[in-house]
Amino acid sequence: MSLEGIFGEGVDRIGGEPIGARMARRAPIRHIDFSLLLATVLLALYGAAMIYTATAVKLERAGGDPNAFVTRQSLYILAGSVFMVLLVLFDYRHLKSFAPVVYGIMTILLIAVLTPLGEVRNGTQGWFDFGFFDVQPAELAKVVAIVAAGVYLGERKGDVRWTDVGMTLAIVGVPAVLIFVQPDLGTMMVFVAFTAGMLLIGGARLRHFAVLALTALVAVLAVFQAGLLKEYQIERLTSFLDPNPDIRTVGYNLTQSKIAIGSGGMRGKGIRSDDTQTSLDFVPEQHTDFIFTAVGEQLGFIGSATLLGLFALLIWRALRIAAMSRDMFGTLLAAGIASMWAFQVFLNVGMTMGIMPITGVPLPFMSYGGSSMVANFIAVGLLMNVHMRRFLRS
């Protein structure tokens, strides 16, 4: 099979058609990627259902409203959908002109969140508390950084030199460093992942990657050596390597998480109220970062594999859109988003299964949280936009 076969048709095979018919056929509204939309909607609903099963029993036991979390998550999904629709209404290339402004606002927000305006959760200063809802700027910053890097690299049209690599790193590096000092190690690692993906697609050479990898290695070692990481961060990062972690402290999450997933077996235990790890609250942060354990325990391998399948569909559609985009900017947007999702899924699911370090990265569309949900819907909107407008002239 040719590469075109995988990523879609690169060449329009239809010729000799009347212009009007062609124009009508190329109208953006006729090119909605329904597979992408379906994957998105299914993931969001799947997530909401899992949040309900992971929280309802506990909330009820505590005398609260069993629907509290799922209600809010539904509102986030609605809000995300509104943003998604907004983002397909205009040609994505107009983003090139907004990008600097949005990037500036994002940088200001990331700085502001480090001031007393920001809230600390679980040791990370990364939230604005607006009373009715919270905003986690780092989640939105990922998409903004992808757009900004896409604008810059897109102009290079595949011809990437050291200065271009440097500029890209600077564009992405500012928010990444601000996020690192929150500290939110996981999100920073996501930045590294999608930057690498975008550099790869944007045209960086092997030698660029070689030097960058080496530099990254040195930097990581320096960070460890210089004591920039706190003890608990190091423990969390390395505990997954320890076959018998101390289950009372750092290994507790991991142990309970693996027990939940492992005990789910092939078909899962089903949604039960009194004898699952989920219903008995054995997995901390289950409705947020550890939502995958609720799937694994209750729906088993079948449910987990289905979920991973939906993610595969989502990422495949993003890569397909990258291949079909009419310009480099669109390709880079799609590739950046695909890299971001792929890495987040790998990091999050890998973390719950003990093959990746424990870092606070949400599972896209699944984890409870508004900022993450809205950012991911924006990403879907961007992909839609690129997909719908792939036949339009510049």
Binding site: K157, G197, G203, G264, D275, D281, A305, M328, F346, G350
Partner: protein, 657 residues
Amino acid sequence: MVSGFSNGPTGERGGGIDRMLLRLAVLGLLVIVSFVALFSRLWFLQVLASEDYNQLARENRVRLVYSEPRRGRILDRNGEVLVQNRQTLAVTINKQVIDDEDELRPVLRRLAKELGVKKRELEENLNDTTVSPYKPVAVAYDVPKKAVMRILANGEDFPGVGIEKLPIREYPQGDVLAHILGYVGSISEEDLEDPYFAEANPPYEAGDVVGKSGVERAYDRWLRGTPSIHRIIVDSAGRVVHSEKVQDEQPGHDLVLAIDAKVQKVTEAALESGIDAARSAGYEAPDGAVFVMHPSTGEVVASASFPDYDPALLADGISQKEYRALIGGDIEHSKMLNRPIQAQLPPGSVFKVVTAGAAITNGLIGPDDLLSCHPTFIYGADRRAFNNWTSVDMGSMALARSLEVSCDTYYYQLGAWLEDRWGASNGDGSERFQAYMRKAGFGSTTGIDISGEAAGRVPDWEWCNEIYKATDGALCPDGWLPGYTVNMSIGQGDLLVTPAQMAVTYAAVLNGGKIIEPRVALRAERDAEVKRRFETKTRRRLPLDQHVWDEMREGLELVVAGADGTARAAFSGFPLDRVRVAGKTGTAQIGSVDSGKNVAWFVSYAPAEDPQYVVAVYLNRAGHGGESAGPVARQIFEGIFGLDQSTDVSLSQDGSR
């Protein structure tokens, strides 16, 4: 390139399309690799290792909570309560809460002051290694209510200190039957390895209170009861989410013993009195025992051991110091030794029924054949002289009279013949004498239903060889000598027996040769309903004619009632017309001829025409059997049959055996 406008990714990116797709393919490949990794791990966790994680999940949430069922009572054969339970207030210390020595010391000091005990005592109880370290350790029992109130009121001064209501064993009959009853305590590591505990269903667990000795131990499975089990499900914070009872509590069975509390008390009193009398007469008499058994059922009606202890002393745990005091400096002085089944002594003349049985079984003589009873018997190539206990020539006699007057010479001759035919030295080495002894129950445990029984010793050629090697030739230097067999014929030499073995052998004389297993327990009951009867077990039958047994019984009756009977003096004034007593005296010499070193035996039964009680008595280093052991048996019979005139044993004036 199609006309003027771009209609695909080719337009803006020019000829870079292939390179672009290649780069996307690399990215796609990375995504595929990471998904393959996730799927593999998922497969491992949820399919290959799922059972393990299921187990871990169960351990996470499921807790089994056991109750402590009421331990069964122990009753005597008439329903008298020997052991029951009562609640005691105990002060406990939880080592999980407080284990630092520096913190512990002041707490113990305050506690000792509050309870009016020595701090050392508390420390010893706290450091008792036999109790589970995961449970609070009881350091003081029967604490006054006032002290409890003060400790509870000043909780901050007593971290880790708790008050618990604990069930402990109580002994309404007082200081009797300690050795047979045994005591209870927390199960130890060793206990858990013991098959009795290890193979029980439901299994025993650390922290269980179990019998440590006696019937408490032997019948623990009956006495323990079944705890109720609640299966509870807890959440991550340990809150109980769900609880269900999976097993109902069943209190322990009551155990009815063959012991007759009244006879037991009489027996203990008689033994103690006999020891006192022997001591007053100038004997050392450090220890003694009485074993009272029904001759056809093996039911143990009484069993007394001297010295003894108060069972209540061990009911609530015991300090190391107290325990050392109980054990005494050596075995001979140990109060814990259950002498009726654990003391091993040479039997002396009470063994003569066995020698006679061996000779008759093997056709050497008949019960009516006459043998001479000279003062001396000369035997062997070295013409060694074996003396009768008296220098008077008693003339010829048959079996019955040989027992009445306890003629040693009669038995020396049987011993010589047994050696000449089948002995290891002069005979063919088939050792039929020893074979008969073993048949009669010597050299092995009787199979009584409490543990710790001693087997005694039947010396033979093989034993001689082993002891020779073990002692580098100090013992048995010339191998098995013919004289050993001759000596053994009157129960002397290296032969060792227990009082219980003697009782079993005399029971065989009375029941037509059946070797039965003595047993202490009759049945297990719950709510007065019999759940199990423990049946009499007969091991084998000694192959002698009834005529032989009758002649032996005739002889044994003459021992007490005959004009020349060796126990005549001991029973002078005893109303033999109302209760016919029969028996055999024995005086086993240990080492020297000094009678102060003798083991005094009297094995007897009554009523002679329909025996109900076999009474085996020994007093160590207390003169002759008829002199000091006989009167103990006499007092027991007086008590049993309501003939009681005197409450104290007085030694018989008869110096004969």
